[in-house]
């Protein structure tokens, strides 16, 4: 090996080291993959730009493939901030002592799940899920992701309440579509007859004209419950300087770019605390997906 090659190797090794040092300064966040990825990337790159302007540090968003991956990345300190659902937030905060819910969307204070059905089933909308027990039995049904609050936890809870047994005993087939947009598409196409999804996704797709209303309709709306929130690790102040956490919270609460808010879609962010999500924790324990 010639001297110049050695020099090159050393130089590149130093560069690598230097780049990892820069890494330590970057504030990284993620979000649960609850919708189509293109939409997520568009939305959260906007958030990254906004935060980096407000916080004066480099901010980066990384996309993940599952809810659990988002929780693990947060737990492993590979991301310091995350846009979690109710359940994933509870899981994450249990695993990372000192972490806290910073802010939630205005709509997340009273979030809902919509049950939707393909119109070929002929199921008519009802006020109470109990009225639908006969027409739902034996149908095919899809949740969203296994770790979703509005796509799995809450609908499963209300189904168990209405039927007194697990969804597998009620429906002919139970699936997990992966995310809310896909639940909508699958029920619209008739692949599953009934599904449950995040009401915000439904309303946004409806507004954008992306739903064939002759093929799919809402048949039941759940009572309200708390959902999505921004959760931050407890050790960010040590890493990014005193008062960093408060700065992040303020930046999130101040976010008023209409385009960015519309992409969530939320009308704005309000303060949140860990205690706001106690009902979610209790529900998760009740149906046995949290130890």
């Amino acid at each position: 090996m010639s001297l110049t090659t050695i020099r090159k190797v050393i130089a590149s090794a130093l560069l690598l080291l230097a780049s990892s040092a820069v890494w330590a300064e970057t504030f990284v966040f993620t979000a649960i993959p609850d919708e189509d990825e293109t939409k997520l990337i568009e939305r959260f790159r906007g958030v990254a730009d906004y935060l980096s302007e407000q916080l004066n540090v480099e901010v980066r968003y990384i996309p993940v493939k599952s809810y659990a991956a988002a929780v693990s990345a947060f737990r492993n300190n590979q991301v310091q901030l995350a846009w979690f659902g109710g359940l994933s937030g509870v899981q994450a905060r249990r695993l990372v002592p000192g972490s806290e819910a910073l802010a939630q969307g205005v709509e997340d204070q009273a979030f809902q799940t919509y049950f939707i059905a393909n119109t070929s089933t002929g199921i008519a909308p009802a006020q109470d899920l109990k009225e639908l027990t006969d027409s739902l039995r034996g149908k095919t049904f899809t949740f969203g992701s296994k770790g979703s609050t509005s796509g799995r936890l809450m609908p499963e809870f209300f189904l168990r309440q209405a039927f007194g047994t697990s969804p597998e005993d009620v429906f002919d087939r139970v699936g997990f579509s992966g995310n809310h947009t896909r639940t909508l598409r699958l029920v619209e196409a008739g692949t599953y007859q009934v599904g449950a999804l995040n009401f915000q996704v439904w309303q946004k797709e409806l507004e954008d004209g992306n739903i064939d209303e002759s093929a799919v309709r809402v048949i039941w709306q759940t009572p309200p419950y708390p959902d999505y929130q921004w959760t931050i690790r407890g050790d960010v102040d040590q890493r990014f300087g005193e008062g960093f956490k408060a700065k992040v919270r303020q930046a999130l609460l101040d976010l008023d770019d209409p385009e960015l808010l519309k992409s969530f879609p939320r009308s704005g962010f309000v303060p949140a605390s860990n205690d706001d999500y106690e009902p979610i924790r209790e529900t998760a324990e009740a149906i046995g997906i949290l130890d």
Binding site: W23, V71, I289
Partner: protein
């Protein structure tokens, strides 16, 4: 005819699969499956290579992960092959290869996160087990004669290098090259769990119905595999091997505390962590076994048996496509292309595509497993049929197929099929991640609920099931004296 053990065994397996079909969940639930399939093929013929900026990077990562993973696996596999006669080494290798690459990736993701090491180890570890076994088999077959001709006092290493390696070199090289192709497939599907390889983009575009984007990813992948003879040259190999580690991407730094936490807390069964003692552990295990492991095992075995017979049928039907005893060169070339596409597409990708198009049931999984494995076996026995010499007055057409070729190829055919039995089961288990209720479904559910203790027990059960099927497959092959060359 019934006096032949091979025939009796085949009929038994066919009968089992038929019973399985009655019990299995086989249906097309999508309302318009053919329109969707049509749209998909339209996407493949109108690929869009410029939609995502990261596609070329993903291609680079796919190749790098494959190279580093296979190189590490081959090196450590070779070392273990030298010790393969020792029982514990065999058991260890059987165990690490019984766990699928994707399961390894899911495990490493929990503590290395999105670090390149996750992808590299996910390939290297199971491949170590496979390499160790196959290398040991190849070395055992070596001609002992040169060894005896060495002068007394020859060193062990020198004897090994000069008397053993030369005889096996060609075979070792062929098999390693073949494994590299498997490694590219494994590397691509790691993207489905979030690593930055081609599978990541395939899943992203497919799930959003962007078929032209998905088509572009698939075409890139086929070109990559088909062009292996062009770009993987012996002279270029050292360059690739040296360069590959630098193109793995940087990911995120490893936090060693996470590794420690995973092994000392996360995978410790919940009742032990909460101090509920042995009683608590037993009821926890019983619950896990009854509600998750048993249904998972049942569906995995059911699907495996159906897919095995479907694979066999497809292989028997497809080998004439490339056999020189049928048709002209045009037919054979198109047959080759068809079989290469079938075997180059990983089962996981095929099953994913078909599940999206046909809706959830076991059917997409059966078709995917049969297409991929049937393509491989069809290709192997098709080539073997070329070595058969027929009498000048041999019958033609269907008679030649049914009365000349199939009977003469039936034993190697069964050998390949039983060799792949365990591989089909490994894949069947992993397809659960896509939503079919095999063992992988329950492993994935446990991971999604951040219950790694449950996930580990279920992965262990999956591994034991694979080891059992592997042993049964070997027993049957030995009993019927079926010989085969290793294949992936």
């Amino acid at each position: 005819m019934f006096s032949y053990p091979t025939v009796r065994l085949s009929l038994l397996f066919v009968a089992l699969a038929l019973v399985g079909l009655l019990l299995a969940d086989i249906s097309i639930t999508a309302s318009n499956p053919w329109r969707d399939l049509g749209n998909f093929f339209l996407g493949v013929v109108t690929p869009n290579f410029f939609s995502s900026e990261g596609l070329l990077t993903a291609l680079l990562r796919t190749v790098s992960f494959a190279f580093v993973g296979v190189a590490l696996g081959s090196l450590s596999g070779f070392l273990l092959a030298l010790l393969y006669r020792h029982g514990p080494v065999r058991v260890f290798c059987a165990f690490i290869r019984a766990i699928h690459e994707l399961f390894w990736a899911l495990i490493f993701l929990q503590f290395f996160g999105f670090h390149p090491l996750t992808g590299v180890l996910a390939i290297a570890i199971p491949y170590t087990g496979i390499f160790a076994k196959v290398y040991a088999e190849i070395l055992d077959e070596a001609d002992p004669e040169p060894y005896r001709l060495l002068p007394p006092g020859t060193g062990v290493v020198a004897a090994f290098v000069y008397a053993r390696i030369p005889d096996c070199w060609a075979q070792l090289r062929t098999y390693t090259a073949y494994r590299l192709e498997c490694g590219l497939r494994s590397s691509a599907i790691l993207g489905f769990v979030g690593l930055p390889t081609l599978g990541f983009y395939l899943e992203t575009s497919f799930s959003q119905g962007l078929y032209s984007d998905a088509g572009a990813v698939l075409i890139l992948f086929y070109v990559l595999i088909a062009a292996i003879p062009l770009w993987v040259r012996p002279k270029l190999l050292p360059v690739y091997l040296v360069a590959a580690p630098f193109f793995l991407g940087e990911g995120f730094p490893i936090v060693w505390g996470n590794v420690e936490r995973f092994f000392t807390e996360d995978i410790v069964p919940a009742p032990l962590r909460h101090g509920e003692g042995v009683g608590g552990l037993l009821s926890w295990l019983g619950d896990l076994f009854l509600n998750e492991a048993l249904p998972g095992i049942w569906n995995t075995v059911l699907l495996t048996q159906i897919a095995l017979v479907a694979t066999g049928l497809l292989a028997l039907l497809s080998f004439p496509l490339i056999s020189r005893h049928f048709g002209g060169p045009v037919r054979r070339t198109s047959g080759h292309i068809l079989l290469v596409v079938a075997r180059s597409t990983p089962e996981y990708v095929l099953a994913y595509i078909l599940l999206q198009l046909w809706g959830p049931s076991m059917l997409p999984a059966v078709v995917a497993l049969a297409l991929h494995n049937g393509g491989i076996i069809g290709h192997l026995i098709g080539r073997q049929s070329d070595t058969l010499r027929l009498r000048p007055d041999a019958p033609r057409g269907i008679h030649r197929y049914a009365w000349e070729l199939v009977p003469r190829l039936y034993r190697p055919f069964l050998a390949f099929l039983f060799y792949r039995w365990e591989i089909i089961m490994r894949e069947t288990a992993i397809l659960g991640i896509l939503g079919i209720y095999t063992l992988g479904f329950y492993v994935d559910s446990a991971i999604q609920n951040i219950r790694f203790d449950r996930a580990m027990v279920l992965i262990l059960i999956t591994a034991l099931l694979n080891i059992g099927i592997d042993a049964l497959g070997r027993f049957i092959r030995r009993r019927l004296a079926l010989q085969t060359l290793p294949s992936c």
